[in-house]
Symmetry: C2
Subunit: 252 residues, 2 copies
DNA sequence: AACCCAGGTTGACATGCATCAAGGCCGATT
DNA sequence: AATCGGCCTTGATGCATGTCAACCTGGGTT
């Protein structure tokens, strides 16, 4: 986002310790020497473009990926062209954790917009982690956090109605972007309505109608991919567990 | 299940290396000495009973739990008594991985039937793992596997209809039980229809109707909690991604 | 500038499943 | 053995959301 005019190779290959994401990425209390060691195994490639794949389902697992700028979606391609979107990944977020177990990727990762991605060869990382307890623990937490996040999605898909799902989606985007120092109320969605619907278990048409409704209710202002959140508290309420009063739905 | 007539304390406190679950639990290639070290940190309690809690949402995270016999459900209790069932845990399966990140349990774990549970104090385990690479790697895989499993559930809740969900549930039970050396086609469900419905994002009534339908179609024989699977291949087909031909549902 | 087209919106309709309601079954309690 | 209560089943009905279809819109191409 904030980039110098002259983009030299050096600028792109900014070290972990200078990365704006370091506080998200690096475990607290890692010594400067350890950071250098970690730094030395991280690969940084030239920017990837919309449609590029980080990896595809079935490929051998080699590396984890960290989004530096841009965004990535992960999805499981199915037989006849259909797919299930598993998640959207914003700067500071890690991709590929689910592949450790089988030593192969079970999902594909596609870049949604021009993005900078760090690649972390897992085997080297694992060796490094073995000698840095705080890194080790950090890795456990990362994996654990992913599990916790998935549990939230389970609740969303299992118990929430369309309105609550889209509200939760907007809140999630808002929170994650603001954590990155970006505006929590004004942002661009890099994914299509189609992909949002797929992710939330809704039809495209439903997503579209809900955006319209939210706008009519003065909760947001939407223009194509540009979203301005006008009334975040109300949206947070909608997203929250509480189903509309009088509904017995899923109180089972 | 297969238990000696005289259940002495010694019998219950069977060491990891003699545990029938050891091949599920222990990473391949751990030396006997390392197994002993692991063994020494595992606590084994007297059997727990239906309704007992391993832990409750909000409690400080201290230990992981492994089901030896019986079954456990995890769930997130919500405001007004409602809950979302996150999973059912059978022998050999681990509980509590999601709590590492926040150092606190975000869900509760309740025993569904008389069960034997191993408790693994996490801090000690982490120290131990740091010095045993294969254990370390095994732990990563465990966490990763959990993430992969959650992704499957996401797909189930996001894209499958009621029939596919119940079929997938039956297939999952069948596979997991058979991996424990139990019958893949004849078993007892320790959870209620209510809990199954909650887990699958369906109303109790729908679950009940589907069991009836499956039985009418000759796929299963159901008597209360006792399930006999008569036509596993067909059920596997139902569970599989493929939605009924002609349906555009969720091909988005 | 005219065209094209993918993505998005909107309307009309269909349906799967939740909801509501009533009754049945079985184990527990006395 | 009679009573009770929890769990399960079955039937009737309604609604949220998927589906189908038509149109709109803006950006890219020639």
């Amino acid at each position: 986002m904030t980039q110098r005019k002259v983009i030299s190779f050096e600028t792109i290959r900014v070290a972990c310790k200078n990365c704006t994401l370091s506080q998200l990425c690096l475990p607290m209390g890692m010594s400067p020497e350890d950071v250098d060691r970690l730094d030395s195994i991280v690969k940084r490639s030239r920017p990837l473009h919309r449609g590029d794949h980080l990896f595809r389902s079935g490929e051998r697992f080699r590396s984890l990926y960290v989004v530096k700028t841009g965004s990535v979606k992960t999805y499981t391609p199915s037989e006849e062209g259909g797919e299930q979107v598993l998640g959207f990944h914003l700067p500071g977020e890690i991709i590929g954790l689910d592949a450790i177990d089988q030593d192969a990727h079970a999902c594909s990762a596609k870049v949604l917009e021009t993005s900078a991605i760090c690649e972390v060869p897992f085997q080297r990382f694992e060796e490094l982690a073995a000698s840095i307890p705080s890194l080790q623990h950090s890795m456990y937490r990362l994996l654990s956090k992913e599990i916790g996040h998935d549990a939230e999605m389970l609740l969303l898909l299992g118990k929430k109605n369309a309105e609550e799902r889209l509200a939760a989606f907007l809140v999630s985007m808002s929170q994650r972007l603001s954590k990155r120092g970006l505006s929590p109320t004004d942002f661009y969605l890099s994914m299509s309505r189609h992909e949002i619907g797929n992710y939330l278990g809704l039809a495209v048409e439903t997503v579209s109608r809900l955006f319209t409704r939210f706008q009519d209710e003065g909760l947001v202002k939407v223009d194509r991919k540009h979203v301005e959140i006008l009334n975040l508290p109300t949206i947070e309420n909608l997203a929250g567990a509480a189903p509309a009063a009088g509904s017995r739905k899923h109180s089972n």
